[in-house]
């Protein structure tokens, strides 16, 4: 079975300067596959979704499970029984208890919880993440 994540290969440090952290070439991030990177010993999931890129802390607020090791899918919405509309925005489904979180907001589909998200962008072929002060608290 194909996995929706790969990881543990990138070890980086945040210099806490407030500058964006370069987590790698965009070519290294497969479309719709979470890649888990470790920065200062903390795990983050980096997801490229077409031309967009999303970064979240790899911790589910439910039982602190590694949420980024779950399935990544298009968001499923519905306006009427029997209809399901897939939208071009991702959700990640926690592998432990199947809680679903929307990206880029990080909000859970069915609860008030959320996973931590970080601004990220692709610039000149590099994936840049703004951890800022939040990474120190993560």
């Amino acid at each position: 079975m194909a996995r929706d994540w790969c990881g543990g290969i990138t070890l980086l440090k945040n210099d806490m300067s407030g500058a964006s952290v370069d987590v790698g070439s965009s070519d290294e991030f497969m479309d719709r596959i979470f890649r888990i990177v470790a920065i200062d010993g903390k795990e983050f999931g980096v997801l490229r979704w077409g031309e967009a890129v999303y970064v979240v802390r790899n911790i589910c607020p439910h039982h602190f499970s590694p949420v980024c090791r779950g399935l990544v899918r298009e968001s499923a919405q519905s306006e009427a029984p029997g209809t399901i509309v897939l939208q071009d925005s991702p959700i990640v489904i926690c592998p432990n208890h199947r809680w679903e979180f929307r990206l880029p907001s990080g909000f859970a589909v069915r609860s008030r919880h959320s996973i931590k998200t970080y601004p990220a962008r692709i610039q000149e072929g590099r994936v840049l993440v703004d951890f800022g002060a939040r990474a120190r608290q993560a």
Binding site: S78, A80, P81, G82, I84, I93, H97, R98
Partner: protein, 375 residues
């Protein structure tokens, strides 16, 4: 008589009245079916092919007086045996049990359901006893016919709900094929009571997983099975999301299993939400707002506290349970026996208020002004 620590008026959600010999019903059957059944020796009520009863009758033995009227067939007897002694302020009459609507000829089934409705209105509900209310019996095998029947009688002030007694198509009730029934019930704000058992007569329906039971012991024990299936189906297919005012009333299925079903549904919906994003609320929440369950057969625990512990696994279940006697059947529960088994704070809800807020009562009733429903 006071009902076991509860001395208020009682609403009985499931009382059975019967026409007795077929000739009493024949005048209400529309052509061509009146001629069909008149020329035939077939039974109008396929339940007469039911399992033989070890007591010889499906009536409670102490209600039967040889040579006297048959319990369920006679209004005065019902008043003296049920309505008066147990302070029944409102009784919902559900035929005996309406298995006529489950004939394998679905058109005949629909015609007999209409005949029973007209018979009930003509002989019981128009006699001036404001304690008596009725259900609109429909043949679920022809959903558009059923919807038409609901629309024919849905505005009648003595008809406070819809009654379905069979899953003759072998499809759980959340299937879109049944949606015309829910749409019509929603139009008239009528709850739908499910009283299983007639599934035994159809070629498609099945009362219990694994095949139909062979004895009454198995039959009664396994009645919760279809109830679980149909609730699960209606929630899964968004019936209550499409028609938020539709309520399902489960009759004669017991009720101690409901917390388990609510919790299991919650778990699976959380796991598999992607299958049904149109389902807005957690199933346990939907059960509290849109499902009601009658007490009979009261399931006696070894200790009353065990019953309450079991039920309390679903917070708010005291708003879901409603009293029913099942008069005049062999396993009747008396109101005072049932009331005393519940905590004092639950009794008024279970014996009266929950049913008052579930069925669609006329604007004014003999048992006081109905309060507005909260659903």
């Amino acid at each position: 008589m006071t009902a076991g620590g509860y001395d208020g008026s009682v609403i009985d959600c499931d009382v059975h009245h019967a026409y007795g010999p077929a000739t009493k019903l024949t005048p209400y059957i529309q052509a061509p079916w009146r001629e069909f059944v008149s020329a035939s020796t077939m039974s109008l009520n396929p339940a007469q092919k039911h399992y033989p009863h070890p007591f010889g009758t499906n009536k409670r033995i102490d209600l039967v007086d040889d040579g006297g009227p048959t319990p369920g067939w006679d209004y005065d007897l019902m008043a003296s045996q049920l309505l008066d002694p147990f302070n029944i302020g409102r009784a919902i009459l559900n035929y005996d049990v309406g298995h006529e609507s489950a004939h394998n000829n679905h058109y005949l089934a629909a015609a007999l359901a209409s005949a029973l409705n007209d018979w009930s209105l003509d002989t019981w509900l128009s006699r001036g006893d404001d304690r008596l209310y009725g259900s609109i019996l429909v043949a679920s095998t022809l959903p558009t016919y059923a919807a038409n029947e609901i629309r024919r009688l849905g505005a009648h002030p003595r008809m406070v709900g819809v009654l379905m007694v069979a899953d003759g198509l072998g499809l759980p009730f959340g299937h879109p094929i049944y949606h015309p029934i829910f749409e019509a019930a929603s139009e008239f704000d009528l709850p739908i009571s499910l009283h299983f058992g007639a599934d035994l007569w159809s070629k498609q329906g099945q009362l219990a997983a694994g095949g139909n039971p062979l004895s009454r012991t198995e039959f009664y024990t396994l009645l919760p099975q279809p109830a679980m299936h149909h609730i699960t189906s209606c929630i899964s297919h968004g019936v209550f999301d499409k028609w938020p005012n539709v309520r399902l009333v489960l009759l004669e299925t017991g009720y101690t299993w409901l917390p388990w079903l609510a919790r299991t549904l919650d778990l699976q919906f959380s796991n598999l939400r992607r299958e049904s994003p149109f389902v807005r609320n957690l199933p346990s929440e939907t059960i509290l707002t849109n499902v009601r369950i009658a007490t009979q057969p009261y399931e006696p625990p070894e200790h009353s506290s065990h019953l309450i512990d079991l039920l309390s696994a679903l917070d708010g279940i005291e708003d879901v349970i409603m009293f029913s006697s099942d008069y005049p059947h062999w396993d009747i529960d008396d109101a005072d026996d049932v009331a005393k088994e519940f905590p004092p704070g639950w009794r008024a809800k279970i014996m009266y208020r929950n049913a008052e807020q579930t069925f669609r009562w006329p604007a004014t009733g003999a048992a006081g002004s109905p309060s507005s429903r909260t659903i």
